[in-house]
């Protein structure tokens, strides 16, 4: 499973993934702070989900950096070794990203059942055992889970129309759209760039929302 990333975008891709990791880490840390203050379970789940997503971006970035540095030092690296490292990075990214999304969708269900959480997670991950096209499947499953997450935030926005709710709802809508674009990007490299830019806008909206909230202290 390999993306077709434009050569000129490779460095930007690593930088963007690091940025996504940092933004999601900041959001997760703040969610844990709110949990510490309020003891609200939903806040802990939200923090956990963003932690998983954050780690998924960091792992992908760092393993790609290691791979590139090895390539730079040795100049020669076997295709098998390259593919192994790349697939390891991508597999860990997929696993943690799905875990993050499943935790988030479980939070939106507002139920207290480990069975339901386990079932959603197993259904989401087990399908990867039966495919040779993990990337398409990853984006497809992410998109399905994101539909439910987006629906939750849409209801939240309709329930209370405010700029902050609009920012968060829009960001999850954009992340959903990016998943669809990434599905095309497996075959057409330019769509990967467009997808990454849409994700950047989405995370920036989430960050702006957090800054507005913290700024009111």
């Amino acid at each position: 499973m390999v993306y077709v990333i434009p050569e000129w975008f490779f460095g930007y891709d690593i930088a963007l993934n690091l940025l996504f990791g940092i933004i999601t880490l900041i959001v997760s840390l703040y969610a844990f702070k709110v949990y510490k203050l309020s003891s609200l379970k939903q806040s802990k789940l939200f923090g956990l989900s963003f932690s998983f997503i954050s780690i998924s971006y960091f792992i992908q970035s760092f393993l790609t950096i290691i791979l590139l540095s090895r390539l730079h030092v040795n100049k020669i690296i076997s295709l098998a070794s390259f593919t192994t490292w790349y697939n390891l990075a991508l597999s860990l990214h997929i696993l943690l990203f799905i875990l993050g999304l499943v935790t988030l969708v479980y939070m939106t269900l507002n139920v207290n059942s480990k069975k339901i959480f386990s079932m959603i997670l197993l259904l989401s991950l087990s399908t990867f055992l039966f495919t040779n096209d993990a990337l398409h499947l990853f984006h497809f499953i992410s998109a399905i889970v994101l539909v439910f997450i987006f629906y939750h935030y849409m209801l939240n926005l309709l329930n209370k129309k405010s700029l902050k709710n609009l920012l968060v709802t829009s960001s999850f809508g954009l992340i959903f759209i990016s998943r669809i674009i990434f599905m095309v990007a497996v075959d057409y490299s330019i769509y990967y760039v467009i997808g990454d830019i849409i994700v950047l806008v989405a995370y920036l909206l989430i960050l702006i929302n957090l800054i507005i909230i913290i700024g009111k202290k």
Binding site: A31, L40, N156, L167, V168
Partner: protein, 90 residues
């Protein structure tokens, strides 16, 4: 009850305690929080177990006081509320 309403009730109870210089009797909480006696008892239990307040007994009568966590909740209530609202944690 929605989470935000629940958080509002918790805020009302803690504020009632805070307004009485951090120490209050259950009858005052009942009056200020506008809850049934049973609901108030449940909230007080939850707040004690969550370390937001502490219960003291003197001559057979109970009183409640805020812990540091309780004070922090009161101070950061607006931020907590807005975070929970906008990130759909209710």
């Amino acid at each position: 009850m929605r989470k935000r309403e629940r958080l509002q009730v918790i805020y009302d109870i803690l504020k009632a305690i805070g307004d009485k210089n951090g120490k209050i009797k259950p009858t005052h909480i009942l009056y200020k929080s506008n809850l049934s006696h049973q609901m108030m008892e449940e909230y007080l239990k939850e707040l004690i177990s969550g370390n937001f307040i502490q219960e003291t007994q003197y001559n057979g009568s109970k009183s409640y006081s805020l812990t540091q966590k309780g004070f922090d909740y009161l101070n950061k209530y607006q931020v907590i509320n807005e975070f929970i609202d906008s990130f759909g944690l209710n």
